[in-house]
């Protein structure tokens, strides 16, 4: 098979699986379809001659983050998503946050269309700059070191936030006067 055929194959799997993720009622299947979508993306990276990015995609997203997702879904053991609204009503006519979701989806489509039509050719990366680990590391820690550090601070903030939210308040000894 030529690389064009493979490109369309992986692209179709990625888009199909991503669409199926939001079409699923069972959250476990959603998680698995998302993993399939990540796998297809990783195939696309290999076609782009970036094996390092492809493998990192599998290790970080499919291997680590999705295991945690699966862990949480299994712990909750929710076979079906609980819906607050009446499913017979059209999504656009439902009350509450659903309408904002539709508005956001429309905005995203417009943005995507704008980016795809207005975007100029960037010239791409020089040959071999993404296939070698050393080249990726060098540009990450020199040209993009500020962005790299900012991202790590961002992740640290998210982590501290999660710990604060999950932490139980230390139990205070109840004084006899209080109810």
């Amino acid at each position: 098979m030529g690389s064009d055929t493979l490109f369309y194959l992986f692209g179709a799997i990625a888009i199909g699986a991503s669409l199926a993720v939001i079409g699923q009622r069972n959250p476990i299947y959603s998680v698995l379809l998302l993993i399939a979508s990540f796998g297809a993306l990783s195939g696309l990276y290999i076609l782009l001659d970036a094996p390092f990015v492809a493998v990192i995609q599998i290790i970080v997203y499919a291997g680590a983050i999705m295991v945690l997702f699966l862990f949480v879904v299994m712990l909750l053991n929710a076979p079906h998503e609980e819906t607050e609204y009446d499913e017979r009503v059209h999504p656009l006519l439902r009350s509450g946050p659903t309408r904002f979701g539709v508005a956001l989806a429309v905005a995203l489509m417009v943005e995507l269309w704008w980016a795809l039509t207005k975007g100029r050719e960037t010239g791409g990366f020089p040959e071999g700059s993404v296939s070698s680990v050393a080249a990726i590391g060098r540009s990450l820690f020199t040209d993009y070191s500020f962005q790299f550090e900012v991202t790590s601070v961002l992740i640290l903030v998210a982590m501290v936030g999660a710990v604060v939210l999950a932490r139980r308040e230390p139990r205070r000894p109840r004084s006899p006067g209080n109810p």
Binding site: I28, L32, F52, G63, V67, F71
Partner: protein, 341 residues
């Protein structure tokens, strides 16, 4: 088809068959070593010295009835053992097990004894190892049984925790060899110091080796870290509801994962196929000997050490093993940077 392509296909099939039979050998070795350690006879009736016992086991498993609980999720229940077995076989594809050879002049250009020579091989092993957890987790969930679910939950928590130390131990070797390719790493360990001591990474990275082996045992769910299938607590853990060939696939995956972890440890720390006394074309003999020694160690551990408690496992993974692995990586990087080891 060129002779090279044919040789490649033959090599792939050869590795597949050898992995299958290694599982059979391991089953026999495990039962025999366990018996010796416990002053029993072990299997001795089927074939000479009981050597055909694994064959009898396979035939028994094949003729058993395939059972599925009524409340189980049929699709995922069938998919889980396939994921486990596939991931186990796939990981070995990038592991080199011998020097380049022309098979005594049979081929025009030398063939690498490795199914796929990927330049990020070590990360591929790591990625596939991280995918294999899905087989265990999905088996636990789809069985719809409390023992299976607990086993699956334990497996996912355990693998996530020990993967970090595993990755950091790998990284310290990468820094030393300055390459992600396993064959480069092995070739970096050729030769000796002072003419006696082989230049294995084991001697520069003893801490890395210990961390790798500990995390490797936890990743393959072997005793003393066999929590996903702790018999005394969880019946059989994630594969409680499985029978016949689907159970056999989990069984197979466990042994092949052990072989892969041992083979990668040999390539990373024990100099792969390099060794004295034998010509380079017979390097695979050294490779097999080293892998066999690590596998024996695996079995020895299982029948010597009792299982830890689950909270001990978690505390050890996060508070002991991970800091040790991180400090080891930092020290290695500093050593390479300032002293050029």
């Amino acid at each position: 088809m060129s002779a090279f392509l044919i040789a490649q296909i033959v090599l792939t099939l050869f590795v597949f068959v050898m992995l299958l039979s290694s599982a059979a050998v391991m089953v026999y070795a495990e039962r025999k070593v366990a018996a010796i350690l416990q002053q029993r006879m072990g299997p001795y009736l089927v074939g000479p010295k009981g050597m055909l016992q694994p064959l009898a086991d396979v035939i028994k498993l094949m003729f058993k009835e395939e059972l599925r609980p009524r409340a189980a999720d049929a699709f995922l229940f069938a998919l889980a053992p396939m994921i486990s077995a596939t991931a186990a076989f796939a990981a070995f594809a990038v592991v080199p097990f011998g020097a380049e050879t022309t098979f005594f002049g049979l081929l025009n250009e030398p063939l690498r004894l490795q199914v796929a020579d990927v330049n990020v091989a070590i990360l591929v092993v790591f990625a596939i190892a991280s995918m294999s957890v899905y087989g265990v987790v999905l088996a636990g969930w789809s069985s719809n049984s409390k023992y299976s679910l607990l086993g699956g939950l334990r497996a996912s928590a355990q693998m996530i925790s020990y993967e970090l130390s595993y990755g950091l131990a790998l990284a310290s070797v990468l820094v030393m060899a300055n390459s992600l390719s396993l064959s480069d790493i092995v070739n970096h360990q050729a030769g000796t110091w002072f003419g006696v001591v082989p230049r294995w990474f084991l001697f520069i990275q003893p801490v890395g080796f210990l961390v790798y082996m500990t995390a490797g045992i936890a990743e393959t769910n072997r005793a003393p870290f066999d929590f996903p299938e702790a018999e005394q607590e969880l019946v059989a853990g994630y594969h409680t509801e499985y029978s016949s060939m689907s159970f056999a696939m989990f069984f197979l995956a466990e042994y092949i994962n052990m072989v892969t972890v041992s083979a990668v440890a040999t390539d990373l720390f024990l100099g792969g196929w390099h060794g004295p006394f034998l010509p380079a074309s017979l390097g695979w003999v050294w490779f097999l000997l080293k892998v066999g020694a690590i596998l024996f160690f695996y079995i020895w551990m299982r029948w010597t050490l009792p299982r830890y408690r689950y909270d001990q496992l978690m505390r050890f993974g996060w508070k002991v093993l991970l800091p040790i692995a991180a400090v080891n990586l930092l020290a290695t990087a500093a050593g390479v940077l300032y002293f050029g080891i």
